[in-house]
């Protein structure tokens, strides 16, 4: 009969992986009472993704198509509104609803791909540092030091200056924004997992380094990685908008939520709807991402599932 006290040892392996890294992963934890919130977030995430995928179907107009004489029309319900444009038009007379839909789509894609790039680089280096140790570890951690001492804005500026403002470059830029976080996380996890009896048991059984890394380590750091991915995802959404603020985001006229907000910010007083809807979408997306990360962790963490 499990009671709370007896259940305690179940958490032991978790607390053994304490260390600051694990602490960090636990950060986005929500109180158990907020399960409802997570459900809402999951629904929201699903809705946003669906809407984004269906953008070409849902959007009434080409997102880049201008109607210069119908500039700055407010959304339906306001004075001067034009019923053709449900959410109004922007500074070039483009349909905001269509731009929001396509912008959401591209933003999600950028953040996702950026996250994946960061993930691949970060996890790879983290595993290498943690498993190989020695000089490799020193060099990788040196790179991490460098990365963490440079303000990212500067790095982004330089990379864009070097490689141009292609979408692919932008994804790369977003990708290198947080690789070091993954690296540190994975390395710390590997180092603490390495001491765990079951890893030791696998070594005692003669398991190769590769097998230990893939079978015993990776699956056990997936949940922290997932949580960090979700955090990362929402950070990238914000980062993309910051880059747009500095004029470094995606090239006009292509719409992303960030570029819509960044380029529309001058109109916040005179035509606030230009910024309001994409800004709201940014908030929703990043909120949903953070909450989803939490949800995913609970979902995938075998240890936590039945508690």
């Amino acid at each position: 009969m499990p009671n709370a006290l007896e259940a305690k040892p179940l958490i032991k392996p978790v607390s053994m992986i304490t260390g600051a890294a694990w602490g960090l992963l636990k950060r986005p934890t929500l109180p158990s009472g907020t399960n409802g919130m997570v459900v809402v977030a999951a629904g929201l995430a699903l809705l946003l993704i669906t809407v984004a995928l269906l953008a070409p179907v849902l959007a009434p107009f080409d997102p880049d198509q201008q109607k210069l004489l119908a500039r700055l029309k407010p959304p339906v319900g306001f004075e001067r509104a034009n019923l053709t444009y449900l959410l109004g038009t922007d500074q070039l007379g483009r349909d905001l609803l269509s731009r929001c839909l396509y912008g959401l789509r591209l933003t999600l894609a950028l953040a996702l791909l950026g996250t994946l790039v960061g993930l691949v680089i970060g996890v790879g280096l983290g595993l290498a540092a943690g498993l190989l140790g020695g000089v490799v570890d020193a060099v990788i951690m040196g790179l991490v030091d460098i990365k963490l001492s440079l303000p990212f804005t500067l790095v982004a500026l330089l990379v864009i200056a070097l490689a141009g403002t292609d979408i692919a470059v932008l994804i790369g830029v977003l990708g290198i924004a947080y690789w070091a976080h993954f690296t540190r996380l994975v390395r710390a996890q590997v180092l603490s997992l390495r001491e765990l009896p079951y890893v030791e048991a696998a070594r005692a059984s003669g398991g190769s380094g590769w097998r230990i890394a893939t079978t015993h380590m990776l699956p056990n750091i997936i949940s922290p990685i997932l949580v960090m991915m979700s955090l990362n995802f929402s950070n990238l959404i914000l980062l993309e908008s910051s880059l747009s603020f500095l004029g470094l985001g995606v090239q006009p006229p292509t719409a992303t939520l960030g570029s819509m907000v960044g380029q529309g910010r001058d109109y916040m007083a005179s035509a606030p709807w230009i910024v309001a809807v994409p800004a709201l979408l940014i908030v929703l997306v990043s909120l949903a991402a953070m909450l989803m990360g939490d949800f995913l962790r609970d979902r995938f963490d075998v240890r936590l599932r039945e508690r």
């Binding site: 198509q65 500074q91 006009p252 006229p253 380029q263």
Partner: protein
């Protein structure tokens, strides 16, 4: 935080009791989009710096800036007379004092002009080439007279002795700034640009590069005393913040208000908007030497495809001016709106494209993100207009000057009027020795050069007019440039302040001299 900055902070906290202070007649607060990195009228050519020089420096020959056309007035020269087609003699004003207390002498004047005309300091050399290439030397005739000699006959002596680049600076002060006080070293000029001293009605008491400029009334100014005891110019780059600063009383006057925002200011009973079609063209330039852009029919088509009236309606609420040719009203007799160099004709554009065999390759259009008001918006609108005739444009937002980049295809740019003559606007940019030609994106032929010489150095006005018309025809035929419009430059200010931009100035000048600005008595 250092103890010092802590102290400053506390002091600031104690002194700021009222957040929203009223306009004291003694102080004017100005919010600008950009502040200059240094201030030296002689080497400056930028839209940012030109805002600030007129309050602090004087040229030899003055001008009535309320008039559109050039009406010369005595400046630091009380009188002048052209002694030959290549020489002019000027009597310098007596009793003029620099802000540092030194009297202005003929030495200073010669030094000021000579530092440009016979420049050794590279930043001055640049200006010598684009503004004063025809000047040969400057010398003191006696203690009150100087003589300027030109290489070829010079029809524009007055104009050139009025430009910002020939404003008078103190010789002794500059030479004494660094190193040997008897020699003008480059470091002297660099130091001067951070601690500028002139003869104008306002002296600069504080200058924080890229951030802040404080003028104070100069009581020993030779002319009418400045209306304000203090003028504080503060950089507020973000538009929303700049407008807010005005509405919030943190600024009495703000610059660079795009047309879309005018209603917000005009709708406030305490505020108003002033503006003017500024003598500057936003232009599209082409790299005629890029193999892809070599066919002049392609460039003609791109020019015909842009509906500039539409751009004006949409982006400038119709307030900007769509030109027919590369010409400004300020040119006076040389203003030639009758030339029909640039026009909108999409059908013709399509036809030309067909003739040129345009195969749909994308045209890269370089543009800075925020340097030109509405620049990025215009680029996107032009993209649509080109698309209408079947041309694909890729916008490339970059802070880099790509004018000398062989891969450049098209680019947004501006052609300001540096001085009121076609030579001071079109000429600076498109002369056979101008930067467009030397940077290699514009290759005028010998005929063009010959027409140019006729235009530039004829002392006969009619000959100059005719030559300019020929130049425009050449441009129309093989276009390297397309003026979009003269932007309507707007300023937001308090109702209580009477000030407006004057047509006689070059673009962006903030003229706070006596008679040009006043506060209502409240």
């Amino acid at each position: 935080m250092t103890a010092q900055s802590m102290k400053t902070l506390l002091a600031a906290a104690l002194t700021t009791t009222a957040l929203v202070s009223s306009v004291g007649a003694q102080e004017l607060k100005v919010g600008v989009q950009n502040m200059a990195p240094w201030l030296d009228p002689g080497r400056d050519f930028s839209n940012v710096g030109s805002q600030f020089y007129f309050n602090t420096f004087d040229p030899m020959i003055g001008k009535d800036h309320t008039k559109v056309e050039s009406v010369w007035e005595p400046g630091l020269a009380t009188s002048w007379k052209q002694t030959s087609p290549t020489a002019i003699e000027l009597k310098i004003r007596q009793g003029v004092t620099f802000h540092n207390g030194d009297p202005m002498t003929v030495e200073d004047v010669v030094f000021s002009l000579d530092r440009i005309i016979n420049a050794t300091f590279p930043p001055y050399t640049v200006r010598q080439r684009d503004t004063l290439p025809n000047m040969a030397k400057v010398e003191a005739v006696d203690a009150e007279t100087i003589r300027v000699t030109a290489k070829k006959p010079e029809p524009l002596f007055e104009t050139l002795l009025n430009v910002q680049q020939t404003m008078i600076v103190p010789k002794k002060y500059i030479m004494g700034l660094t190193g040997d006080p008897a020699v003008a070293e480059p470091s002297d000029f660099e130091a001067f640009a951070l601690k500028p001293v002139g003869t104008g009605p306002y002296k600069i008491v504080e200058f924080v590069p890229n951030q802040k400029l404080v003028y104070e009334r100069f009581d020993r100014f030779w002319g009418a005393k400045a209306p304000f005891q203090r003028v504080v110019v503060q950089r507020i780059p973000e538009l929303s913040s700049r407008i807010t600063a005005l509405k919030n009383g943190e600024a009495d006057l703000i610059t660079n208000v795009p047309p879309d925002q005018l209603d917000i200011i005009a709708g406030d009973g305490k505020l108003k908007v002033e503006g003017m079609q500024t003598p500057l063209f936003h232009v599209v330039i082409f790299n005629t030497q890029n193999p892809k852009m070599a066919d002049k029919r392609l460039r003609q088509a791109l020019s015909y495809a842009i509906d500039r009236r539409m751009l004006n309606e949409a982006l400038w609420s119709g307030k900007a001016k769509v030109p027919t040719s590369h010409t400004f009203e300020q040119f006076g007799a040389l203003y030639m709106p009758e030339l029909n160099t640039f026009e909108y004709n999409p059908e013709k554009a399509k036809q030309l494209l067909k003739e040129a065999g345009y195969d749909g390759f994308p045209i890269r259009y370089d543009i800075q993100a925020a340097y030109y008001t509405n620049g990025l918006l215009a680029a996107q609108a032009i993209r649509e207009m080109w698309a209408e005739v079947g041309v694909k444009m890729e916008i490339n937002v970059t802070e880099q000057w790509t004018g000398s980049d062989p891969t450049m295809m098209a680019r947004g740019w501006s052609n300001p009027m540096y001085f009121p003559d076609p030579a001071g606007s079109f000429g600076i940019m498109w002369a056979p020795t101008g930067n467009s030609a030397t940077e290699g994106r514009f290759r005028p032929d010998a005929t063009y050069a010959e027409i140019w010489d006729r235009f530039r150095f004829s002392t006969d006005l009619v000959a100059r007019k005719r030559a300019f018309a020929e130049l425009m025809q050449a441009i129309k035929n093989d276009p390297p440039v397309l003026p979009l419009y003269q932007p309507y430059e707007s300023y937001g200010l308090k109702q209580t302040i009477s000030w407006r931009p004057l047509p006689g100035h070059i673009p962006y000048v903030l003229d706070f001299r006596a008679g040009r600005i006043a506060t209502a008595s409240n």
